[in-house]
Symmetry: C2
Subunit: 537 residues, 2 copies
């Protein structure tokens, strides 16, 4: 079970959720050219044996095509609906600290997804749903003008080291297939893609030349490789396109723009919409999860929650029901750019229109004015939308709108989003979330500097910031810090207060403390010059 155990100097141990896979286990060495151990292979084989003869039964096989039934048990959703608890469900139950039945029930109801392509046996199962820890996704991927395969694999390893729960490979340049293969074979977390990007490459970047057949073959190719979830912009309908023409920033989703251009050029309905049932059959055979894309998401504060966005959202709700009929897992992508006062409405509309399918949002950015800092403008929105019930937050890096993220940007984005997700877990009152904060606050209050660093989201940065001002080794155990200096420390004074109080016998009267809040008003109205002997408190 992937967990990070932090051994404190007090002898206590704190266990934290961990996404980094076997690579951060000192006992394991991984050859990037071979990939990670395929730990799920045995579960998949056992399931295949049980389902012998059923559609999609053998790993690596193409789907039968057209002949796949809609009530089978191949997918986690199918299993859950039949009341079965898969090994993957057991795994995430332990990982989240909840009963396996909760996992099954949430998946069966469509309120959570467990994205596990049968051809990605290297992944460690995880769950995305509002009843569980809020997850984050890191986008990686090369483009026509920058980066290489090695860099992208390194970014994936790096992103999961800092806490990315899934990665999306958004490559658009050369070597898309090979880049993805390397990423999947090395990824301990689910991998998502946007197949339309590769399909577009196959038609030399000309949106008008796209066909259902090219797209379908691309999806099958990616299913075969082991992609766990796919963004499909099937909600961009011909009739929605004119709703964007008067927007301040039109269509900013690449997928959305491609399909809008295709619809207009052909005067036909989006082929992803018209062929959606066929797509369901393909994804079902591999247990690939739909991430229904928001191709018409707002690209600016001005366009938030507008008619185009909401029309598409209603269509995504319709498609959710259709996918569920095929036992295919679904999550719904969301914006983008939204001012704080419109975030809650977004989540409520998504829940209502999409039947409580998990929401997966990009940010949202809460202002447009800070390019270079959009990990922060969007962490604000992400924390809030997470609190309101969004299940997974797609990170935004400092390079958003400006360039492709490098290694440091990936880390900055992941850390900002781990903060947002954890702040949301705290606000939601997720059981166990606060134990982490409590352990760190205790270490801080006790001047256990090394414990504080080890419990931090980014121990290296925390330690280096501390050492910058007080570099000497003894300062790591000093009962003061550089903010106040050795003779003037509020934490130290508080400890003195406690000791003093103990000596004076205040300890016994502490039970009265809770009652003091009510008494406060009496005191206030009693006059300005109150003297109250401690014995009376």
């Amino acid at each position: 079970m992937p967990m990070r155990e932090v051994a404190l100097s007090t002898g206590d141990r704190v266990v934290l959720y961990d996404t980094s896979g076997p690579r951060t286990d000192p006992a394991v060495s991984v050859d990037v050219r071979v990939g990670l151990p395929r730990s799920r292979t045995v579960w998949i084989a056992e399931r295949d044996a049980g389902d012998a003869g059923a559609a999609g039964g053998s790993a690596g096989a193409r789907p039968a095509g057209g002949g796949v039934g809609v009530s089978g048990a191949t997918t986690q959703l199918g299993l859950a609906r039949r009341g079965l608890i898969s090994p993957e469900m057991e795994f995430v139950a332990v990982r989240e600290g909840v009963p396996a039945e909760t996992v099954r029930a949430e998946i069966a109801a469509g309120r959570a997804v467990l994205p596990v392509n049968r051809n990605h046996p290297e992944s460690e199962p995880m769950i995305i749903g509002r009843e569980f820890l809020v997850k984050i996704n890191a986008n990686i991927g090369n483009s026509a003008v920058a980066s290489s395969i090695e860099e992208e694999v390194d970014k994936m390893v790096w992103a999961t080291r800092w806490g990315a729960d899934t990665v999306m490979d958004l490559s658009t340049g050369r070597d898309i297939h090979r880049t993805r293969e390397w990423i999947i074979r090395n990824s301990p977390v689910p991998v998502g893609t946007v197949p339309i990007y590769q399909a577009l490459e196959k038609v030399d970047g000309k949106a008008v030349d796209l066909t259902w057949e090219v797209y379908r073959d691309t999806v099958i190719e990616q299913c075969e490789q082991g992609v766990d979830y796919m963004t499909v912009h099937a909600g961009v309908l011909l009739r929605h396109v004119p709703l964007t023409a008067r927007r301040r920033t039109g269509i900013v989703s690449r997928g959305g723009a491609i399909l809008a251009a295709w619809c207009l050029a052909h005067h036909e309905e989006n082929f992803l919409y018209t062929h959606f049932a066929e797509l369901c059959e393909i994804l079902r055979a591999y247990d690939v999860t739909f991430s229904l894309g928001d191709g018409l998401r707002p690209g600016s504060i001005a366009d938030a929650n507008d008619a185009a966005q909401l029309a598409e959202l209603a269509t995504l709700g319709e498609l959710t029901s259709l996918a569920w009929e095929h036992d295919v897992q679904v999550m719904i992508e969301g914006p983008g750019h939204v001012p704080m006062n419109k975030i809650k409405e977004n989540v409520e509309l998504q829940r209502e229109l999409c039947h409580d399918a998990p929401f997966y949002t990009l940010g949202p950015l809460t202002t447009d004015v800070a390019p270079g800092y959009d990990h922060i403008t969007s962490a604000i929105g992400a924390a809030m939308i997470g609190w309101f019930g969004t299940a997974m937050l797609c990170y935004v890096t400092p390079k958003e709108h400006l360039g492709l993220p490098d290694r440091e940007d990936v880390k900055a984005g992941v850390i900002a989003y781990k903060i947002a997700a954890h702040a949301a877990d705290l606000a939601k009152g997720h059981p166990g979330a606060q134990a982490w904060d409590d352990a760190l606050s205790d270490a801080r209050f006790d001047f256990r500097w090394n414990d504080q660093f080890h419990l931090s989201l980014d121990p290296e940065t925390a330690a280096s910031y501390h050492d910058e001002t007080l570099p000497a080794a003894p300062a790591r155990s000093a009962h003061f810090c550089s903010m106040c200096g050795p003779h003037f420390c509020s934490m130290k004074i508080t400890r003195d207060v406690r000791e003093y109080a103990a000596v004076r016998g205040i300890g016994d009267e502490l039970a009265l403390a809770e009652g003091m809040r009510e008494k406060s008003a009496e005191f206030v109205s009693g006059g300005n010059h109150i003297y109250l002997p401690l014995a009376d408190v």
Copy 2:
């Protein structure tokens, strides 16, 4: 009038609020040893002439002491209550783009403060209140173990350049008086202090040796220098101290800890509370604003909104009324560490208990687990609490809990808080707030890269991030960016969509677009395979 005008390549001009003072005007050169021009001197002199003979009438004079009346018009609050609009009020009205009468009425009601010590004529008047733009404060100041005077003045100049609306000098080390003098003479923004820090230095750091007299003389010294607002921890009462003993992180405010220690050591009530009326008379004479300190603010998520914090808040409400009786302006300091779900309650309690006096909060941090990134953990809370009505946000830098901020940390903190404040202005629907986002989004959509950079909170960073991936000069005017590359750009495709739509005559039908949202449900229920000719849209 201090404004930043951004000239766009389209010929349009965007005017932004500016806090940097004369230094960023190329026509002005400032000698740091001389300080800024004393532009308010004439207003103060004219007012003195009108008030001839009234208490506190001559600049630089000590208050009469004891003989000052409580209904005079020396302060902005006094003037506002008498129905008078001061030049400072006119100034902020233009600066905020609101009627001067609004400014006067908000000050008169105590809902806003205009912190202007008569001995800080270098400052450019600004207002802090929920009806106005959300403001931010940057803390600077040396400590016993780090930094110098020059560094601190440089940090102040640097902080105001990036948008700090006020600075607080929290120096605790050597040369406190001289550091402050340099900062005030060079500061275009109001300067705040925490006088107890200097008072403590005067008694060699021994809290038990503090006296009202030492404190009072320190306050007068600082009033004379021109400090515009002072944090006074008069709400830390003897009876509140036991409420902190069972906290996870006790008392984390330095001032709060000092006064708690003093109260316990002497078995007496906080001398700031018992002498509060005298303090009012001193502050009134200079028009210094109270920033009533939250000495018992929570230092961890676990301690948020607890009995100690709320008991102190009730006392601050009592003191607010007392200060107002003396025509002294008041704002209320707030936490600290608060999970998102408890932020709104904080603001509501503050409004209720403190009679709508402006709230001024430190963050709050929304989780404890990310030391090294507390500008982000707290920007989330700051944006939310600003939206809920907090008037000023005290920044937190990446070094919080770990060390003293350097120049880069000050910038990181200020930018994160400008983001939070502006996101709050947008969410509150502040008139004019969205024009900035709209201008930047327009530039982005039109590929006017340089306009986008110039409109950014941090133009240098935005431009350098862009140039990193696409360094060639022509890329600054390219109609694509490094995220998608030249042949695959969603913004470009959207423009094609618009042009296509225009050619096909969709433009005429756009009036129907708004009606499409309602129609969407009909379409959805009509079947899965809808073909809709564009002419019908």
